[in-house]
Structure formats: C-alpha cells, structure tokens
C-alpha cells in the first residue's frame, strides 16, 4: 500500500512534494503551492490563520472574529508579538455565532458587536475577520463594515479570510488588502519631497551647504514582514536610526493604525517576510512609487547585507561609512560568544521546517555561521521560485519538502540523522520523541532572534538544546540488565567492588548505564 520508492515512505500523491537538492541550474522537480491533501495531516492552517498572523500584531486594533467561538479561542494571544503601547490586540474578540445566527444570518449580531466594542475600547480601527461559516451563509461583511465605518467614524475593515477559500497564503493576501485600506495618501508636499530625496542625498555629497537641508529631510523606510516577536523590531530599529534613517512603521510588529497610515511617506520598503508582504510592497510601489528590497535581519551576514543595501540605496557616503562602523563594532562585540558556541555545535546537522520560505532561507545562512549544515529544509507556503533559491543555497543531498506532514518529518529526521530541528510547537514534540534537539523559531519563542543580540540568543538556544545531557540519557529508553556469568558471579569480591552490581535472588545482575562516553547510535 505504501510507496517504498521515494526518499521517505509516504503517500503516492505526496511523493512529488519531496526532493533532494539538485545540481546548479537544474529545474527543481518539486510540486508546491497546492491545496493540502485530505487525510495527509498537513501542518498548515487555514486562510483565516494566515490573515490573523499578519494582522494580529497591529496593537491598537480590535481584531473581531465573525464566526463560532473556536476560531477566536485558538488564536487568542498565541503570538509573542510585543507592543510598546496599548495591547488591545492581545484580547480575543468574537461574535460567537450560534446555531440561530447560522440559520438567520449573523449580520445584525456583527453590527451590534462592533457597536459594543467601539463603545468599550474606542479603537482607531477594527478588523473584522470572516470565517468558514460566514462564507457559507453569505453574511455581507462588506456592507456591515461600511455602515459601521460611517456610523462610528473609524475604519472598520473586512478581512476576507473564510477558512476554506484557499490556503494560508491567501490569508496573507487578505491581510495585505486590509492594510492597504489603512495606508493614507501622503499630502501633496510630502510626496514631492520624497521623490526628490535620492537626488538631494547625492547632491549633498558635493555641496556642503546642502547637508543641513538633508538632515532635516531624514530618509524614511518601512520594514514589512517583521512581527516584533519577542521584541525583534526593537533590536533592528536602532541600527537604522544610527544610520540616520527614520523607520516609519514596521508591518505589522508593534504597529498602530496611525503609524500604518503614514507608510506611504516612506522612500523605501524593506521586505523581510517575503511570503506575506511582497504583495503589499508591490502594491505600494505601483500606487506610491516606493521601491522595495528583500532583506533579512537574522544572522550576521544577512543583517550586514540589509544595512549595506539600504545605505547603498540612499547613496550617501556618510551613511555607508556609518553602516560599516555599526557592522564592525557589533560583529566584534558578539563574535566571542558566537565563536564559543560555534566550537560546541559545528558539524551538527539541522532540519528546518518553517511556515514561510524567507525564514527558511535566512536560517540556512545562520546555521552556516554556526558551522552547522542543513540536511532537511521545508516550508508550508513556499512557491516554485522560493524552492529554486533554497535548492541553490543548500548542500547536495539536502532534502527539500513542501507541506510536510508529521510522519514524513519523523521519517526524514531519522533518515537524514538530524541533530536539531527548527520549527514550531506542533513539530517540537515529534523531534523530542525522536531524541532530536529543537529550537522554536515560531510564535512561541520568548527571546529575540533578530539583530546582533538576537543572533546570540539563537546561538545560545541551539547550543543549549544540542548539548544538553538529556540526549545522552534518552538514548537508552529501556533499562537493560545484563546477567553476569556464573564464573564471574562467584568472585564475590570482584562484584562488590562495583557499587552498582547487585545480587538478586541468586543471580548477579549488572545494569547497563549509558552515562559513559560510549557513543551509541540512537535507537530510533
């Protein structure tokens, strides 16, 4: 029944989604970007989940889920996105639709709920998420939200996230569509100034008299696709500020309705989570003429590229110099700790299973900086071009997988002899049961992984999990007792020398301990 031909045993229909790294230039034969296979146990969630994870860090918004209680319940404050101000986003709001609402429609309840919440929380924006049921019974979210917006004089934005209408990626798009509605067109003057910015900056190198003028007009950027998990953004913003750049807003980590509304004033968008935010960046380019660059703030190499690319874009020698100064000072500051960890983890094999491809790609570099190699890499929502890039970045033989399921992951971890897995909560316990170290790079983490100090945190966590003595202990899952030969057993003195040798009902037994240095192959 089960196909035995592929890299791992799996369903025939799943085989095209698992491949090995190909030689450069070859088209990667990997199927992706499809709906999950029924019964295969995908690690993906739904459209609603995609929309919710992107929008949820908007701190002062009321995130109202129009649907039955579950959808709101399971997503209540499950991401560690930090806020520097109010935390309305950490509450879970729902219309808690009941059978009667399903039969007679939920529009009335929704508009009443909006009114109640406006009265209680006075939010600057309300996002109204539609769920499976809303898509079926056909509540007109658009019109309810429109009416509510007028009545309460705040944006009430429908997020079209019916769970079944696509996959997580479609949810990202729904979230971006909602963000678009918050972004305001800059006033006439501001827009003009912005278009002059680059030339102004270049001029300033020549004309000293211009310097003062450019200092008034600080270059501005947005960071797209950073969700401030554990406070990541707070380690990134200061780097740009030191370079003389203003970060208008990070979308959506630690953002507010107000800061998002100013996004179009930016000169440049830096896109980190490309899977979720490229769509918005492209729109801003078309609508407001703001170019974007794809970057990452994880790992020394990628942070360096991000800062250099940005300085390069604005073109000022002074800024470039400042970027180099920052990079040198910060790298020197953290290098002793990174080197210490590198000595302890180098040569170990890592498995990566991420929601989006951007994080997977940057992790490959991060592991290289720690001297580790990647043996499995997979994502839930990668597209063809993402996998091509991934394939280009990993070593030969690395397994690449799309929309993996628990049995495939377990099998791969064993076959590829991974020492550490980086993924989210659902994957954590699979790794643990197999005796594989684990690092959470999802919403569950409580320490920053971005920026220089973040990379130190990451290195420390990798070290802590890989080098814990528990892995030695769990190699022996059953306490094995060895019968001591009668000849040896008669030599009473010899046995009693060993404190752990016991005479049990006339039979000498010797427990087999594993805390010695003997390397034993994992039993799994």
């Amino acid at each position: 029944m089960i196909e035995k031909t592929g890299i791992v045993d799996t369903l025939e229909e799943r085989q095209p989604y698992i491949t090995r790294k190909q030689e450069k230039g070859e088209v990667i034969p990997l199927a992706c970007d499809n709906n999950s296979l029924a019964g295969a146990i995908s690690q993906r969630a739904c459209v609603y989940s995609g929309a919710r994870v992107v929008l949820n860090p908007v701190t002062d918004a009321v995130h109202l889920v129009h649907g039955p209680i579950g959808c709101a319940g399971y997503t209540w404050d499950i991401r560690g996105a930090k806020s520097s101000g109010v935390e309305t986003n950490r509450s879970s709001f729902s219309t808690d639709m009941k059978e009667i609402d399903v039969v007679f429609g939920g529009e009335k309840k929704l508009s009443n709920a909006i009114e109640e919440l406006v009265g209680l929380y006075r939010p600057p924006v309300i996002f109204v998420y539609s769920t499976c049921i809303v898509g079926i019974i056909g509540d007109d979210l658009e019109s309810v939200c429109k009416t509510a917006s007028k009545k309460h004089n705040i944006p009430v934005i429908p997020v079209k996230s019916e769970g079944f209408k696509g996959n997580k990626s479609d949810g990202y798009k729904a979230a971006c569509d909602a963000l678009k509605k918050l972004i305001k067109r800059p006033e006439e003057g501001a827009a003009e100034k912005k278009s002059e910015m680059r030339s102004e900056l270049k001029k300033s190198e020549i004309k000293d008299s211009e310097i003062e003028k450019t200092e008034v007009k600080k270059p501005k950027i947005n960071i797209l696709g950073d969700f401030n998990v554990a406070g990541d953004v707070w380690l990134i913003k200061p780097l740009f500020e030191q370079m003389g750049i203003e970060v208008i807003v990070s979308m959506t980590g630690d953002s507010t309705a107000k800061s998002i509304s100013r996004a179009a004033e930016a000169d440049l968008n830096l896109v980190q989570c490309s899977g979720s935010m490229t769509y918005l960046a492209k729109w801003m380019q078309k609508e407001y003429g703001i170019p974007y660059q794809t970057i990452s703030f994880f790992g020394i190499e990628d942070i360096s590229i991000a800062l250099r690319k940005t300085a390069e874009y604005f073109g000022s020698e002074e800024m470039k110099k400042k970027a180099e100064e920052i990079l040198e000072a910060e790298t020197n500051r953290i290098m002793p700790e990174i080197s210490r960890v590198r000595e302890r983890v180098k040569g170990k094999k890592a498995a990566i299973y991420m929601g989006g491809p951007a994080k997977a790609l940057t992790l490959i570099k991060g592991f290289a900086e720690l001297g580790m190699e990647v043996v499995i890499i997979g994502t839930q929502t990668g597209k063809k071009e993402d996998y091509e890039q991934i394939s280009y970045s990993v070593r030969d033989g690395t397994v690449i997988v799309d929309d993996a399921n628990p049995l495939e992951l377990a099998d791969l971890l064993v076959k590829q002899k991974a020492d550490l897995m980086v993924a989210g909560v659902k994957e954590r316990f699979i790794a643990y049961k197999l005796g594989v170290a684990f690092c959470d790079f999802n919403h569950d983490r409580v320490v920053e992984f971005e920026g220089f100090d973040g990379f130190v945190n990451f290195a420390k966590e990798v070290d802590a999990s890989i080098n814990s003595p528990v892995w030695k202990a769990v190699r022996q899952r059953i306490l094995k007792l060895e019968f001591v030969e009668p000849e040896k057993a008669t030599a009473e003195e010899k046995i009693s020398e060993k404190p752990y040798a016991k005479k049990c009902k006339g039979v000498a037994l010797k427990p087999e301990f594993l805390h010695s240095d003997v390397a034993v192959e994992s039993q799994v």
Binding site: A45, P68, G70, A72, E99, I114, K165, L407
Partner: protein
Amino acid sequence: MTKRNYATVNPCVMCQPMGSALAFKGIENTMVLYHGSQGCSTYMRLHLSHHFREPVEIASSSLNEKEAVYGGTENLKKGLKNVIKRYNPKVIGVATTCLTETIGDDVPAIIKEFKEEEGIGDDPEKDIIIIPVSTPSYGESHVSGYIKALDAVVRKFSEKSGEEEFLKIPNGKLNLIPVESFSPADVREIKEILEFMAGDYIFLPDISDTFDAPLREKLPKIAVGGTPLSEIADMPNSRASIGLGVVSTNLAVKYLEDYHGVPGHNVPIPIGLLNTDLFFTELVRTLGCPIPDKYQNERGRLLDAMVDVHKYLYGVKAAVYGDPDSVFSLTTFMLELGMNPVLVSTGSKNRDFEKRIKQIFEEIRPELEPVVLDGIDFDTLNDAVSECGPEILIGNSKGRYIAKARDIPLVRVGLPIHDRVGAQRILTVGYRGALELLDRITNTILEATDTFTAPVQVEPAAYAGEGAKDERVEGSR
C-alpha cells in the same frame, strides 16, 4: 459590571470538535479526522499539543472552495483512504465542523458509501470502524463535543446489526465514563483505585498513556494505549456504569441504561473528601467489597492535612472557573476546607449549573452567598472578579491575564495549561488528588501572604574596626 450582549471577549470555552478529539484519543488504535477546512485540525492540534506536550495527530478532509460549493464527499473519502493507508488505524472518529454541517454533508451516508466502495464490512474483528459524530462549532462547547463523541463510540460498538438482538453475556465489570476530560494522571488514579478494589472495570476514554506517553524505543504512528476496543464492545454486558459528573448529562451512561439495561449511577467527579467518599461508596455498593486499607490510610492522611491547614484556608475568598463538573467538585472541596468560593463560574452554557452549585452551598455552608455564572467569557469573569474580590483563582492558564493584572495568585487546574509544564500530571481525583490540590492551594496562599524576611545582617567588614564600621553603616544608608 460591563454589560455586553453581542461581542464575546476572551473565550472561556473551546468548540465541539476539540472535545471530540479528547474523547477519541482515549481509544486504542484510533485516529481522528475533522471533516472541514484544514485550519480546524491544525489549531486544535496546536492547542492540545501545547497542553499535553505530546505530538497530537488529527487529520482533516481539507475542504476548499470547490468542495464547499459542491459538497465534501470526495474529500472525506480521500481523507479516510489516506488515513487508513498511512496510519492503519482500527477506528477512525470523524467529527464534523461548522463548515460541513452547514453545507449539509450527510456524513453517515458518505461513510456508508465509502465502506461499500472499499469493501469494508461490519466485522469489528477485522474491519475498520468509522464513527461519525456531529459537532458543529456553533453548537454548545467542547464539553458537549466530548460527551457526544463518547456516546457515539459506545453506540457504535454495541449497536444491533440488522435484525439481531444484542446478545448479553454478563461480564461483572464496572463501566466508568466521565463527562469531562480528566488529566492523564487522574485517569491513572481512578484505574489504580479500581485495581486495588479488585474490581474489573472499563474506563472510557483512557488517555493516561496516549496523552502522557513514555519515551519509547520507537515513535509509534498512533499513540500506544487507550481503552481496548474489545472492552468498549463489552460495555453493555457490564453490571453497572458509573458516570463521573453530575451537572452535565452523561449520554453514554444513559444510552447503556436505556438500551442495554446497564444500571447507571452518576456521581460527582471525585475531587475532595465528600466526592471521593461518594465515589468509594458507589464502588463498594456495586462491587460489594470493602475499601482497602491503603485508601483508608490515604483518607486519614487527607483528614490530617485538612486539620493542619484549616486556619490558613478558613474564609479565604476564591474564584473558580472551568468546565461545569470540575468546577462543581472543586467548589465542594473548597467548601469542605472552610474556604469561601465567592465566584463560581463556567464558560459552558448549562441550565443546571447554578442550581447544582447553590445546592451544594446549601448543604455545606448555607450562610455563604456566591456569585454563580455560566456561559461566561474571561472579560465577564474579570468584571466579576473585580466585584467579588477573591484572594485566589483556581482554573486553567487562560486566567493568568486576570491573575497578573490584579495580582491574585492562580492555582492551575484544567485545560488548557499552556504556560507551565506538567499539565498531564496534575492529579486532582481521589484522596491523593485532594491532598495534592490542598497542598498546592495552601502553599500558593502561604507564598502570597508570606511575611518572612531574612534577618538584617551586619556586614562582616564592619567588625574590622571602629572606623570601618562607621563607614559601612554610613554607606548602607
């Protein structure tokens, strides 16, 4: 108190399909499949995995737009087929979700069709048993999902096939069926009690291993353990059923009594002295054997501890929240200890909840006047806490928002517990459970009210000389 009629803020219940998974996961060699969109399974896996710290596999029929319009028949069949291929289970529990209930998929009919197509018969010995249960998320709560799933399981295994009458062969066993999910530790304790009472029993559902698995040589595809299928099939032959829980209606116990003549007795979940006494009384009555010394001693130890702590606990105002029957039993125990449960609440809507709670107050401490609420969300609980002023909170980890904001200590009991380890090992039932709970509650109060300070020490250097001493004292100011 903030009056809200339409918006729910911070839910205190989960939806029905999750309850069904808690039930199905306690059955030997069983897989669960949600007939709905992909997110339901992923979210509930996350929720349970985080709580039990175990891998939790729940399949999905992964419906998309096309199926939502034309019906999910093909996806459900494909899902079942793939689950069988990959996991080779003996039982598949199929729970519906709001999506498939609303589009009107006739799940029992689809399953029938599927079985015919795949040549799956009705022989429980060799054929896969597929059990549908209707659990739309817009109906009731996870508690009802749990009760409905257990009812569906018992019915499936004891239904009369065709014209045949169910042939009754008395087995002398005792059925034990809870109305709410117990922790694995609680299930283990109940089983141990039965073993010491020399009672032959069937506990459904047994999550003691499936949700608290030892690290084994190999990672099994389906968690080892669960109530054996042969035992479930044998439940109609038992001498009696004990339903654990008195607030919610135990459908499985009722079915076994109504259709198979197995007398059912519902007792409160055995948390605390009185409730555990009632449980043992029921065991002695049905099994006809005395209480073993071991439990007389445990009971004695509980009494001893109750005396030891009575002054710390007397009059301590407490707020408790959670599933209806757990709250009922926890409240009883608090009253026995002399505590004052000023706020007793549950997220589930339950008509009998208030009546039952008031009754127990009337029996034990009629002078107290608690606030009793059902169908609440955490925002309502927060308002009630502000009004009632409890000194301690007892419930799941979602109460930590209130606990932190108001600086009230929280004793974690129930599901979910996402912010501490050991949820699967929290023991509350039996005399030992009561003892552990009593210790945790008392120590939490002691920790919060502790006035102990380390004695002020003179720095050793101060003895060096008169001048040095003066300087040190000056400095320390």
